[in-house]
């Protein structure tokens, strides 16, 4: 029989979509039980447009090619002591944040996408999510392998997994993903597939990977390049999900809008740490956080929301506040870490004079007015041999779990605090955005495992902060934490480089 040529769409349909069948012996609802409780209405899964039509044989083939190249470079990197090529040992602290704070999120993404990749009733959506799940597992594993070499020569990497479950600032990214995974399958997709992967990923992934490229970190940048085509697939999935939900039923629109509002706010809070990394931790700057925000969110995101307007979707709530925040959050965050540097699993420092001038130039409206004076004070104290560390533990926001470090955007001298009472208890927040999120799901957010509360309740050992850091966090005191000046990391670097 002469075979006709199948187009990709038909072939993919036959090889994937057609595998599903209607149940006769069991209730399909029992097989896919989580599709209805969020109130999302799916009238016809067949309307799902496959975002990438990749069969498994091609998947294996392409991915294996990428893995082969990646591991060849990682091998060469460690064989040739590639860590000596980073521009400055301060840079490595950005990598520490990545491994302790971001890589475990890739793991949670694997778990989350595996869950929806099992639970969605539509086979097209399911298979796309399964592939993303596999990709996310790839990312956590290749990141661990890429950073394994740094772990051998620098402090602060060795307990990344233990720390991720416990340490105060790591509960910010961790709770973000726990929140998404504990939500229903459709909210997960809007939270991670759309908000995070489609819109915000450029502000997480690109800054870290470009930071690596600008600062001589071949291991991380190679991983970054290798993951790029995976990320491109994930973005198309994120976009398909939102369009699909909005087109399925008009009742979905307000639900999706509410999730967009929630997850954009939570996402921008999460990105605070990236803002700080870009402005303060990269010895060679890529661009300022403010500029990155303008390019990747205001321009790219703005165009996207214009496109979604035809479905009745508007810009996320508090977009105006977010716009003002780009001038401030990196400075407020690094100052918080600098002053809590004894309780951080990476090193902190005062920006050099050159870097302070760069910050002034990048933030002409805010830096000299509000933030340079703090660093002048810190420099004075350090010169007197009194490097400043605060003795208190910060109060945390009940929703984003970030210390209450943010100010009112219209008055940067005034700390931003909100509170609400739920079932007789008072809860505190860093912002209207976080307070709103709590008020919408108080029964969820009262469960938050707030690290500082837990310390005060005696659930993390102690009684001294030093004991908690050492025993509960497994931090190697005097090695992992404190200023980079005088650290073993610095001493080793100087020895390798022959610096007296």
């Amino acid at each position: 029989m002469a075979a006709k040529k199948l187009n990709i769409k038909d072939k993919y349909r036959l090889l994937t979509r057609d595998l599903d069948w209607d149940f006769s012996y069991e209730d399909r609802k029992q097989a896919f039980p989580y599709e209805e409780f969020e109130g999302i209405k799916i009238t016809d899964w067949n309307k799902w447009e496959d975002p990438f039509r990749l069969t498994m044989d091609s998947y294996w083939k392409y991915q294996a090619e990428k893995e082969k190249k990646l591991y060849a470079i990682l091998d060469a990197f460690s064989q040739n002591n590639g860590h000596l090529n980073v521009v400055d040992p301060r840079y490595v602290n950005a990598v520490k944040i990545f491994l302790t704070g971001v890589s475990p999120l890739e793991y949670q993404a694997y778990q989350g996408f595996a869950h929806v990749g099992r639970q969605f009733g539509g086979v097209g959506a399911r298979v796309a999510c399964q592939m993303q799940s596999l990709d996310e597992l790839r990312h956590v594993q290749t990141q661990i392998h890429a950073m394994s070499h740094y772990n051998k020569f620098f402090d602060g990497f060795q307990e990344f997994s233990h720390m991720h479950d416990r340490v105060w600032y790591l509960s910010v990214p961790r709770s973000f993903f726990c929140d998404a995974r504990s939500a229903g399958p459709f909210e997960f997709m809007i939270a991670i597939g759309f908000s995070f992967e489609y819109v915000l990923t450029n502000l997480l992934f690109v800054p870290f990977m470009s930071g690596a490229a600008y600062n001589g970190d071949m291991a991380t940048v190679t991983f970054g390049f290798s993951a790029q085509s995976d990320e491109a697939r994930h973005m198309t999935l994120g976009l398909e999900v939102i369009k699909f939900l909005l087109e399925q039923h008009e009742d979905n629109v307000p639900i999706v809008q509410k999730w967009i509002d929630k997850w954009f706010w939570r996402g921008t809070r999460l990105l605070t740490i990236v803002a700080m990394m870009m402005d303060y931790m990269l010895p060679n700057k890529v661009m300022s956080w403010k500029e990155a925000w303008e390019v990747y969110f205001e321009e790219a995101g703005g165009a996207l929301f214009k496109d979604l307007a035809r479905y009745g979707i508007r810009m996320p709530k508090y977009a105006e506040t977010i716009e003002k925040e780009k001038e401030h959050i990196s400075h407020q965050a690094w100052w918080t870490f600098y002053t809590h540097g004894h309780a951080a699993g990476f090193h902190t420092w005062i920006p050099s004079d050159e870097e302070l001038d760069w910050l002034s130039a990048q933030y002409p409206d805010t830096f000299d007015k509000y933030y340079r004076p703090l660093w002048d004070m810190a420099k004075e104290m350090e010169a007197k041999g009194e490097r400043f560390y605060t003795s208190g533990l910060p109060q945390l926001c009940q929703t984003c779990q970030i210390p209450m470090l943010f100010t009112e955007m219209d008055n940067p001298n005034q700390n931003s605090m909100r509170d609400t009472v739920y079932q007789g208890e008072r809860y505190h927040f860093c912002s209207d955005g976080c307070c709103d999120i709590f008020n919408d799901e108080p029964e969820k957010f009262v469960q938050a495992w707030l690290p500082v509360h837990q310390i005060f309740q005696g659930n993390c050992g102690g009684p001294d902060v030093g004991d908690i850091l050492k025993d509960y966090y497994k931090m190697n005191i005097g090695h992992d934490n404190m200023d980079i000046k005088g650290s073993p990391d610095e001493a080793r670097w100087n020895k390798w480089k022959g610096i007296a």
Binding site: D22, Y34, R118, S148, K152, F153, Q158, H162, Q447
Partner: protein
């Protein structure tokens, strides 16, 4: 003579991550170890899942199997993502050349119509079984505990999608890419009495709550029997009846099965060795699902090969289970 290139040696501060060192001692670790052990979160999950508020996000309680250390399930293949995709890429390359050889020379025309019909009715519908296996393995991967077993379940879940696609391509070769053979095969799957037991089994397993039980029902019992019955015995029958070239098209699944059984057997063995309670429970699950599977597969085995086929398959499965320590 070997020439040694001189490189600058720097003394590392440590050999590996602390959690790997706690398990395996202070020495350089393998990539499998660093990618696998203690990577999943253990405590402080913040919020109970809205979809299962009785559990934590990662919870050991989603199966009745109890393990002191869920990382005991070391994969004998030592698959992490990189080794997994590279192994499958190699195998798919062979499969691809087999499929194009078959298509280019139009080997289907040498195969009698009755045999082709038999393949469409009895082999191609197995793509739906693979689809069920995809769901069941994804289920374990998403709700299981500890990366050692959940990553292997994910690889297995994706493999099953791959198998389903290879089986579908057999249909497309036979119907000249019209999709008619696939539609016909699906009708058999939906309506033909020969398949209804298997379909009911698959639907029932997809609804099983305990993920380890679902693994037993799928990867141990049903796959164990089908592998013997279809990919060994039916393959031989086809070879004896003018359909030997089909072997080129099922070689991937055959090799895949052989390789995967090593992992499946290791999982059963490790769970059995852990405790008598596990052993009893596994025994109960195996007996229960095996009973159902035998009933379901009986008409299929009869039509495929003949009266003794199923017994041969049962014996082969039992031999494997004896080696795991589950059966005497």
């Amino acid at each position: 003579m070997t020439i040694e290139i001189k490189t600058a040696m720097l003394e590392p501060v440590r050999n590996t991550f602390a959690h790997i060192e706690r398990r395996f001692g202070d020495k350089p670790a393998t990539r499998y170890q660093e990618a696998t052990y203690d990577v999943a979160s253990e405590i402080n999950f913040h919020y109970k899942p809205l979809w299962q508020p009785e559990f934590e996000l990662n919870d050991k309680g989603r199966t009745a199997i109890v393990m002191k250390d869920w990382y005991a399930f070391k994969d004998p293949r030592q698959f992490y993502y990189g080794t997994y995709v590279q192994m499958r890429a190699k195998q798919q390359e062979v499969a691809e050349s087999n499929y194009s050889f078959f298509e280019k020379r139009d080997l289907a025309r040498l195969i009698p119509d009755t045999i082709q019909q038999k393949v469409i009715r009895l082999l191609v519908p197995l793509r739906h079984v693979e689809q069920a296996a995809n769901l069941n393995n994804m289920y374990g991967s998403s709700l299981g505990y500890g990366t050692a077993i959940t990553q292997a379940l994910l690889y297995n879940g994706m493999d099953r999608l791959g198998n389903a696609q290879y089986l579908s391509r057999i249909g497309l070769i036979l119907d000249g890419n019209s999709g008619d053979a696939l539609a016909e095969a699906k009708r058999y799957w939906m309506d033909d009495a020969v398949w209804q037991g298997v379909r009911a089994y698959c639907e029932a397993n997809i609804c099983v709550e305990d993920w380890f039980e679902s693994f037993v029902a799928q990867d141990v019992v049903l796959d164990g029997l089908i592998y013997e019955l279809v990919y060994l015995q039916f393959d031989q029958w086809l070879a004896d009846n003018g359909g030997q070239d089909f072997s080129m098209l099922t070689e991937f699944i055959q090799n895949w099965n052989k390789d995967t059984n090593r992992w499946v057997d290791a999982v059963v063995k490790i769970a059995v060795m852990e405790s008598d309670a596990n052993k009893q429970l596994l025994h109960q699950w195996v007996e229960n699902w095996k009973g159902k599977a035998i009933e379901a597969l009986a008409p299929l085995a009869q039509e495929m090969i003949g009266p003794d086929a199923l017994n041969t398959a049962i014996t082969a499965l039992d031999t494997r289970l004896v080696k795991t320590g589950l059966l005497k």
